[in-house]
């Protein structure tokens, strides 16, 4: 019996959630703030959806406008999210080794 697309998607969702719970639980509370800005940047992967709707061959004007706003919003998240996370974790590097 072949799995439907929906079933595969649900399997992926379930496994990713469990992986997420296990991995996040091990994150040091020291880094919870950078963690949140990092997951934020990662969830800006919705940029893929935004590109596809804006860039569709038969995109309506409405799609283009909404997609344009969506891309702008998530690209802001990607850029500022990764950069600020890096800025924060760098602070934990500076003196950590020296004691």
């Amino acid at each position: 019996m072949a799995l439907s697309n929906l079933e595969i998607a649900l399997y992926v969702f379930m496994l990713a959630t469990f992986v997420g719970l296990e991995v996040i639980r091990k994150v040091s509370p020291l880094l919870h703030t950078p963690l949140m800005s990092l997951t934020n940047a990662i969830s800006a992967i919705s940029v893929v959806g935004a590109i596809l709707i804006t860039g569709a061959a038969h995109a309506t004007m409405l799609s283009k406008i909404l997609g344009f706003i969506a891309i702008t919003a998530v690209v802001t998240n990607i850029v500022s999210g990764f950069l600020i996370t890096d800025r924060m974790v760098k602070m934990f590097h500076k003196r950590g080794g020296k004691k």
């Binding site: 990713a16 997420g20 509370p29």
Partner: protein
Amino acid sequence: MIPQAVGYFYIVAAALFILSLKWMNSPATSRRGVFAGEIGMLLAIVGTFLGFDVHNWTWIAAAFLIGTAIGIPIAYIMPMTAVPQRTALSHACGALAAALVGTAEFYQRQGTGELGPVFMIPLVLETLLGFLTFTGSLMAMGKLQEVLPQRPITYRNQNAVNFTLFAIAVALGIRLIVVPSNTALFPIFAALALVFGVLLIIPIGGADMPTVIALLNSYAGLSACAMGFALENKLLIIAGALDGSSGLILSIIMCRAMNRSFTNVLFGAFGQIQEKKGGAEQRPYRSAGPEEAAAILESAGSVIIVPGYGLAVAQAQHKIRELFDTLTRRGVDVKFAIHPVAGRMPGHMNVLLAEADIPYDRLYEMDDINGEFAQCDVALVIGANDVTNPAARNDKSSPIYGMPILEVDKARTVMVIKRSMSPGFAGIDNDLYYMDKTLMLFGDAKAFVSEIVKELPAKAAA
């Protein structure tokens, strides 16, 4: 480029995202984690451009340029005290994007026969969560930035009104799933979700913002995840699920740190418990000046500093670092005790102290340090209040009873730097201040600490 390759780009990107979060488990590997995330994102975007037939390049390029132009200054100008607001703003942006993509897909696919339940159910979830998280996050940002009142805004039958509104939104959503061609219904559905987001957050007080931010993080992730289901894109599902579970765990940690349940945070309007028990009587307390405080710190063998958000408000982090350096040079063992809800979002206090160059191996979590207070000579509380209140342990009638606290009252001497005797966020009086071994140091945290530091070398010369 063969379009089939896009799937493999996405698989590698997903693996990199998981590694990225895994490497956040320690400061030593965290930069690698950020790097892995960046590469993953790059692969996903490049893969999308190569693998799909993408048109309207001007629109896309313009959006990328504007987004980058906004994002770079945000990342570099934003002071660390404002990171919670930035985080709330980025939840809003992420959620808005998901909601708008959902909206665009809905209208774009009208009349194509693609609007079956398998598409519509995730699409309705995506837009519902997206729109409500968008306005909710903006409200949270307003509260954190203090442009909106921190106090919970409440009115009669609030929960009933909110619930009814949400129920109508869900009913409309179900109607849209059944009759997707009913485009007139969609704006009403979206508007209700937007209004509900506002109503959900206004009754929540400033002290609960760490939980709320974490929860909104989870919603934003789940809306991206729902988009993945609608578009049948596994990478979106994985990244959204990672973000959703991260937000969930953080909000559970925050709730536990305040001994509250989710429902209590969302529907309890905590700050409500403001009714002061009829004109609290004046109780005696001892206070001291910087000279005396310096003398006590100087003769101490071990000091535990308990920082709270008041420290950040006073911008005292760098002065604390000087105090830390001076004391450490004199052979005093200085540690920092960090309560999980110190600061405005999970882990915020650690970032603020790390920014001031305080070595992170001196920062201790509550459970690791509570046993050490009994052996420590001086506990120095700076800008923290409720998280040190022994009433949480002793007084069953206290609204914060049961909340895990830093057991500052067990130290041999307690010093509290505070502006005045006024109660804190939750409006609860703190017995710690009236103990015989407690010295109140009145003043601005930054000014007071710098005076202590000034006193210390003078003493050494004498």
